[in-house]
């Protein structure tokens, strides 16, 4: 893990309230899909956890939604400015030997799946991607996943893009079997995936303080009993492992 004043290469809006930021940083050499970075936003006390969306040589890409004060400040940062990063944090999605993998992402749960898709496609794995959003204006990264050679299915709650409904509706509509799934998104979606997936991993969110496993702020209960830290033992957990 590294703390670094990294250089912002770009910071653009890609959907309603959603921004993509490219950052020049040495953290990239240590990063794995599903890990996150902790971002210090000037004027706010705690760091903000944001998933790594893409890992390139010397560059990390993140995608974030403006939800509160900190992300609002982030959205105003400009290329050329520096941003204080710490990471990479947590245990990400393992890249296994599989014929087919289903990536299920909801809203700002989509970004960490992109690097997964890239790495699985590099292994010539067959990658199905199902993305859920609220409305057409919220949709992002469909083209990007397609360009990797994934089959992409989209659902929106209001039906303004793709299948109307949730990701589960899209799976049903397209008769996709959730055999081996990597999922990231809102809790109801993760619960649904956790219940139906044969195998796979879910990535969780939690309010964090330290982000490295020291404070016990971000815990989840394990099905087998005891607690796990989302920031260190997760954010990615085996399907069926945690009480959602």
């Amino acid at each position: 893990m590294i703390q670094e004043q990294a250089k912002i290469l770009s910071n653009q809006k890609i959907a309603d309230q959603v921004y993509k930021m490219e950052i020049e940083t040495t953290l990239s050499s240590q990063s794995a899909p599903g890990q996150f970075v902790e971002i210090q936003v000037p004027g706010y006390y705690l760091r903000r956890p944001i998933s790594i969306c893409e890992i390139q040589e010397g560059i990390l890409t993140i995608i974030y939604k403006v939800l509160g004060d900190g992300t609002k400040v982030m959205s105003k940062m400009k290329a050329g400015e520096t941003i204080d990063l710490f990471g990479p944090c947590g245990t990400g999605f393992p890249i296994e030997n599989r014929d087919t993998v289903l990536l299920a992402g909801g809203g700002v749960g989509v970004p960490p799946l992109y690097e997964c898709a890239k790495q699985y496609r590099n292994k010539n794995t067959n990658v199905q991607v199902v993305l859920g959003f609220n409305s057409k204006k919220d949709v992002f990264y469909v083209d990007e996943f397609e360009q990797l050679g994934c089959s992409v299915y989209v659902s929106t709650m209001d039906g303004s893009y793709g299948v109307k409904g949730t990701i589960m509706d899209a799976l049903k509509e397209h008769a996709i079997e959730p055999n081996f799934v990597l999922a990231c998104g809102p809790l109801p979606m993760l619960k649904a995936i956790d219940a139906c997936a044969k195998e796979g991993y879910v990535s969780l969110e939690a309010r964090m303080a330290c982000g490295i496993g020291a404070c016990m702020g971000c815990v989840v209960e394990l099905v087998e009993g005891g607690m796990a830290r989302v920031c260190k033992d997760g954010p990615v957990f085996l399907v069926g492992k945690v009480k959602l």
Binding site: Y45, I212, G213
Partner: protein
């Protein structure tokens, strides 16, 4: 400049100690820097048994600070002895065991179990827990109760006992004196202020536990005031805590009367903060004209 500080049971190579609950048992930070650099480490509160802690969310941000309601989650003293202390024994730094409980007997039990652990150099009693037997009044907010638990712990302990006081009291000096009289070897000031945030989306408290402990720079003025008041009233050393972010803040606590300090929430914001402070403290002391660390201690109320 020599940063050495000698306190009861603690031979600190510098006055910087990560605060209890903000550094776990050191493992995570050991991946970032050598723990032997630290003066000491106050490890996470230990209770006799496993405690699951409070339901999440346990963390909320506040202006220049944060609230936490971890609820003393820990694996219990036996597991700590087995799984955490051996790792800490690898480092050349002074380990302070923070002791907590739901009643006086809990404190004594934890201490008895830790007495023969050579890696532990001193105890720090966390008497700020609001859930105790005595009619719902925290041990730490009543001088008689605070003195009594201190006395019991001193009788049980084979190592020096520091008492970590709650700032949520009308008269901190009264409690500090009661605890000193009961035999405390030192004081740790302050634990968190009791605070709350409401989630506007639900209209309900953001933390499931409703209230939480406020820490961070926001509380530093309160901590400095309490250290200043208590340092003039007692004859035992004080370890200052509350909102420290840099070497200048450490000097402020020394001036207020602290002999050493603990750094809490800032470890989350800047995981290297303790290392950085240790590196910068000598030059900060020199910049303000000190020839020794000791010269700075209590300067705010000493005649010159």
């Amino acid at each position: 400049m020599d940063l050495h500080v000698e306190l009861p049971g603690l031979s600190l190579k510098n006055p910087i100690i990560p605060a209890s609950g903000c550094f776990g048992f050191g493992k995570e930070y050991a991946a970032l820097y050598d723990l032997s650099l630290l003066g000491g480490i106050a490890i996470k509160s230990a209770t006799p048994q496993y405690r699951a802690g409070n339901p999440t969310p346990r963390i909320a941000e506040t202006p220049s600070g944060m609230l936490n309601a971890i609820g003393l989650q820990n694996k219990g003293v036996d597991s700590i002895i087995e799984n955490e202390l051996p790792f800490l024994a690898n480092y050349d730094t002074e380990i302070i065991a923070n002791v907590a409980g739901a009643c006086e007997e809990d404190y004594v039990e934890v201490i008895q179990k830790l007495n023969d652990q050579p890696v532990i150099k001193a105890y720090e009693l966390n008497i700020s827990c609001p859930n105790v037997k005595h009619g719902g009044i925290g041990l730490g907010t009543d001088p008689v109760l605070a003195a009594h638990v201190t006395k019991l712990c001193k009788e049980a302990a084979t190592k020096p006992v520091y008492v970590k006081l709650s700032p949520n009291v009308t008269n901190i000096v009264e409690i500090a004196k009661a605890v000193e009289e009961a035999g405390a070897d030192g004081l740790v000031l302050i634990n968190t202020l009791l605070g709350m945030r409401i989630d506007l989306k639900t209209g309900k408290p953001l933390l499931t536990n409703k209230t939480g402990g406020l820490s961070g720079p926001a509380i530093k003025p309160v901590a400095i005031r309490m250290v200043y008041q208590v340092a003039q009233a007692v004859n035992i050393p004080i370890i200052g805590v509350g909102g420290i972010t840099c070497a200048e803040d450490v000097l402020e606590f020394l001036n207020a009367g602290a002999s050493a300090v603990e750094v809490g929430a800032q470890n989350f914001v800047d995981p290297y903060v303790c290392k950085t402070i240790i590196e910068e403290l000598p030059s900060v002391l020199e910049r303000y004209g000190y020839r020794s660390l000791q010269e700075a201690v209590g300067r705010s109320f000493k005649d010159e």
